[in-house]
Symmetry: C2
Subunit: 217 residues, 2 copies
């Protein structure tokens, strides 16, 4: 069955992999499933045809036969459950990997997204300079805890899993801020994710969409 995902027609980050379709591309590359990409304009994202697929008017969406999904966590988990390679076979290890997926999007990502909002959407507000350090410290609080848990391990819980895929994807959004560089162990963890061949193929494919070049991976 053909898998079709949506992505930005024009990428706000110029193809640096920060748009959320990269997470889904990465997951599909990890499990070795081909997929098609349907670019969507910002105007079309708010129209009824796209809202039927994604009630919050965002990308990516995922279509596979009769199934339509939105929300990267739900899509990546579906890919992990349907195809091998992203979730452990052992039931307990599988439950822990899924808990890390939720930790990525519900505990680590919110303050990181808030920093993006503070800089972009509230970037012209008079409180910007005084408030930014508060938001950054919220992020550091999470990174201190994540660093303590990661320790000397390569991945969060045994072998690479969908939990790492989501966590690395969330942490990548921090790179422009410089905060990632304050945590060499977490920066190395993120780099291990980026070094995976599946990530490179995903990154190159999304980058090519915006640069008009075929993927080099």
């Amino acid at each position: 069955m053909t898998i079709t995902i949506t992505a930005f027609e024009w990428s706000p980050d110029g193809g640096k992999g920060l748009a959320r379709d990269t997470r889904v591309r990465w997951a599909l590359e990890e499990v070795g499933q081909p997929y098609e990409v349907r670019p969507v304009s910002f105007a079309a994202m708010k129209e009824s045809a796209h809202l039927a697929l994604h009630p919050f008017g965002q990308i990516p969406t995922y279509e596979e036969g009769d199934l339509a999904l939105f929300e990267t966590g739900g899509i990546v988990l579906h890919i992990g459950e349907r195809y091998g390679g992203l979730l452990p076979d052992d039931a307990n290890a599988r439950a822990r990997a899924i808990t890390w997926m939720f930790a990525a999007v519900n505990t680590v990502e919110p303050p990181i997204l808030e920093l993006v909002i503070a800089k972009l959407i509230e970037g012209d507000k008079p409180w910007r300079a005084e408030r930014l350090p508060l938001v950054e410290d919220r992020i550091r609080g999470r990174l201190n805890q994540l660093s303590a848990r990661l320790g000397d391990a390569d991945w969060l819980d045994g072998a690479f899993s969908a939990g790492d895929l989501m966590m690395v994807s969330v942490l990548l959004r921090l790179r422009p801020s410089g905060i990632l560089d304050e945590y060499p162990d977490i920066a190395a963890y993120v780099a291990r994710g980026e070094a995976r061949p599946a990530y490179k193929r995903a990154f190159d494919a999304q980058s090519a969409l915006y640069n008009g070049k075929p993927p080099t991976g």
Copy 2:
């Protein structure tokens, strides 16, 4: 196998159900599984014994034999996969219910949490009055979209599922703000969740922990 969860030893909300253990209690009540509760003090939450269970030093945690989980989304999904009553049998409907779980915690909850932070943690900052309406409008943006999707339906996608359990739990945090009252359809959706016998039992059990009364459910 005995299921043990952790909860606040002292509840910041006085037992009004806003602490996150309520979500896990609710899920366990829906599937009819008994559980034990181990209260944890704020000091103990930051100590190594608890951090081994929950790397971010929060509640709830979930222990069941050899399995230890944190993060409500991961716990509720595990309960849904292990016991019947929270996730549809049909594979596609199941994937959609899980996507709604992620939408609750990653798309709808972040601006709601930001409102809590804006009022409590940044409540004494000079930008409070000017910034609050911006955060509230971010929430309204999500609620408008959620309302459009919900339409006349009782639940988000067919029968009640773990997706509704998480969404209602997230929306409940809005009640003190008054924003929920601006959306009669969403308020009615939340009320349908609260009216479920399993929710009432969960609410009463967590409330009794702080009021020294036995559950009345």
